[in-house]
Point group: C2
Chain length 216, copies 2
């Protein structure tokens, strides 16, 4: 059996896919309760009942959105994993940071939704949580923090979470931070990359962003 989400992902021009795309953005910006079905329908340019026809309840649509971005993220991580093969650890992390930052700035609703799921609660606790553990394991192995096919200890998992969240924070907080610093988009993105490297490279690779070892 084929789920509505699979249908939508297969045919990006379908009404299901259009609704899903707008729903991603609006749920990401306003959260589950802040977003209304009317807002989403209006954004697509359709009646609310059409939205309900395709996706059923609001929470069902939300669930589809979560699974959708999770699939996107997983796919992107695979791409990155292929791209960085063969480089030394230092270069691998640096490349990953650049690529993931660029990708997430193109799809900021991914970061928004992930952070909202971490930090915010929903009134009705029906909603599912997406498989963060798998993502974390993938990243840990891809970065070479831990060897293949082994159970990854908690402290390594925590470090990966810290790494991921640092990116999500800057992507998701773009409006707030860039206006606070008075930066335009390209300058802000460049500064995010610089900051991420400054903070993360020494801890995870033992080298400063300029490639020199950390001074004593």
């Amino acid at each position: 059996m084929v789920t509505p989400l699979e249908k939508a992902r297969k045919d990006p021009d379908s009404m299901k896919a259009k609704i899903l795309s707008k729903a991603r953005r609006i749920f990401g910006q306003y959260g589950f309760h802040g977003a209304t079905t009317r807002m989403i329908a209006e954004e697509v340019g359709i009646d609310i009942s059409t939205l309900y026809y395709h996706w059923g309840e609001k929470s069902d649509l939300y669930e589809a959105v979560v699974l959708d971005i999770n699939e996107d993220l997983r796919q992107k991580l695979k791409e990155v994993d292929v791209e960085i093969q063969g480089h030394p650890a230092y270069k691998r992390l640096e490349m990953s940071l650049d690529m993931m930052t660029d990708y997430l700035f193109e799809h900021p609703e991914i970061s928004n939704l992930i952070l909202l799921r971490y930090f915010g609660k929903t009134r009705d606790e029906s909603v599912l949580d997406f498989p963060v553990p798998e993502l974390v394991s993938d990243i840990a192995r891809s970065m070479g923090f831990y060897k293949e096919n082994q159970v990854i200890p908690d402290n390594i998992r925590m470090r990966v979470l810290a790494l991921m969240n640092s990116i999500h924070n800057f992507v998701s907080g773009e409006d707030f931070f860039s206006s606070m610093l008075g930066l335009d988009r390209p300058s802000y993105i460049a500064m995010v990359k610089e900051t991420l490297k400054f903070v993360l490279l020494p801890a995870f690779t033992g080298k400063m962003p300029n490639g020199k070892p950390v001074k004593k």
Copy 2:
């Protein structure tokens, strides 16, 4: 003239203060739209109209909550700043991390609300933003990242943001992350501290958490 917030902060046993206290928790957990005035009133054990009598509109109460936690945070930062005087840079950062982590785990709604303000939008954009820039400058000076009474450049501000947000993330995401790792509260908090030191100390101080310089 004395504002309702000042009244509430002066008399913690007053009804205004009781409402404010519960409002902090509920706004922090559910966000502005997710929280309802009825939820807050019920938590306090009063009628909704009593809540409106003391704080007026929902957005006014929310504004008071934001200013309240901002004041708490500012006060705590001052305490930390006094405590760490005289220590070397490495020790200052380590102490600050420990103290701020403990404090925020005691008042997680502070981290919740700050992150929700960064990342989430409100349907009516009336709401004010609280003075993050000042906080960031205070921290930058307190940590010795930059000298007193100078305009702090953007890249330093960004590093401070990265530092602050790393703590907020782990505090605010406690439920999600600790259940994901299967840790109880004390273990989780200990692991958060360890992780924060692992990630942040090398970049900001050039030393590993064990005090040794970062290896080449």
